[in-house]
Symmetry: C2
Subunit: 288 residues, 2 copies
Amino acid sequence: MPDPGKSARSSPVISSRENRWLKEFRVALRGGLPTESGAVGVEGVRLTEEALSSGCRIEAVLFSESGRRHHARLAPYLDREEIAFPILYTTGRLFEGIADTEHPQGIAALVEPREFSFDDILRPSLSGAAPLLIVLAGVQDPGNVGTMLRTAAAFGATAAITSASGQSGTASPFSPKALRASAGAALHIPILAGPALPILLAQLHASKIRTLATSSHSDASALAPWDVDWREPIALLIGNEGAGLPEEIERSTSARVRIPISGGIESLNAAAAAAVLFYESSRQRNSL
Amino acid sequence: MPDPGKSARSSPVISSRENRWLKEFRVALRGGLPTESGAVGVEGVRLTEEALSSGCRIEAVLFSESGRRHHARLAPYLDREEIAFPILYTTGRLFEGIADTEHPQGIAALVEPREFSFDDILRPSLSGAAPLLIVLAGVQDPGNVGTMLRTAAAFGATAAITSASGQSGTASPFSPKALRASAGAALHIPILAGPALPILLAQLHASKIRTLATSSHSDASALAPWDVDWREPIALLIGNEGAGLPEEIERSTSARVRIPISGGIESLNAAAAAAVLFYESSRQRNSL
């Protein structure tokens, strides 16, 4: 099928060989699963731009006919001789069949999140700020995982760790829903996935990182956010939305922090609580 | 159909007359619409308890067979001679047909939110604290509306105002989704619904309430949250999730406030931004 708008590098996805790419995109976007090589799918011009600017390896970029209007915005990343990934084109109808969103923008990418070791995430930041880690321990909702990564990164967190806690695992930061809620932050902030929580606590303490448990129990020994010295190296642990952190984990941390609330409200939404604590850390690190 | 467990006041909903109640509950819960008398539906033991303790007029309470196990927790509100509403009973199957949740707890209520005037919401609070108002201007997502009301109430906001802004209205705080996200706060905090934004600003200024616009534009004149004196009477305006507040509204407020962020993140999630600002107000009002 002739395609008058295609550039030298473009390849309309119609042959059975190129059909493979559409399947990869469908699995990643609609299925929410990583491809065989470990790439995840991102959709829309903003997230694709975040992926291209993140420094992560790109496996492929896909435009629909109408999505080509976004090419100009992405040109700094795409119109280069040395790019090592294919740029593919398909029809609007086929794109809709693989997209996870209701009104797709016609632009998507497959991107391989970088993998980080424990030593990587403690590497000094360019700004010289002390490590400030967010540890998601049993946060089950992908939207909460994404929102918390976005907020933590916005307030200067230097890395993130995802871990299971008690009965519940933490949702993948790289699922389409989590990536959207993170506004791309999940591709920028270094993330260490999967250490067991007790081992992680021991490693953090051995590395002189203070561990702070967010606590929703009334607990006279818990610190108010403004009583924590956030300029120290700190790892903030956030537990499951309903159950919080397991008690034995709370007891193993350096301290517990509790946001004082009133008004007959029992607790804050988990993402709101994380926003408040990272704001307080940023306020102290920047203004004191 | 005989019902061995029913009390003197209970009435198994089977007759065509009592069928009217099931319809009312279905419209309110599954349909998300107010009943003819303006009552809204709440579901689950926690929200029903919030409704019963709110002081709002209750139109009816409905239990399924399995929901009766929650009766003991609600007994302080239900087992009284002077209650002015019917307590109804139905089968688990019928309850599932009217509930909006996937795994209903078998307990629901119809509750009439109170209506407040502009003067009402400025009435001095029992604590003697200066008015702290949250103004939702074009917040479209019911989950965001509920979460923001919950957070604002938790940090001592004295009242809320919902208003349309530019193209977009604010979602009702009393829809099932907003009520759930608010964890019942929407029934406790006084809410004034619907004033036009320019008129509201004039009224607030005439009442010596300082109006603060949350701004996401880089704006050298915007204050950092810690540079605002939150002990004054303040109304904090929060705009649409995507578009923010209309520019002419931002220009008409007493000041603009902007949360400093970095890390390559363009903006915070709207509910996270609101949490941060109300936390800062609470920190100042309680700790300075």
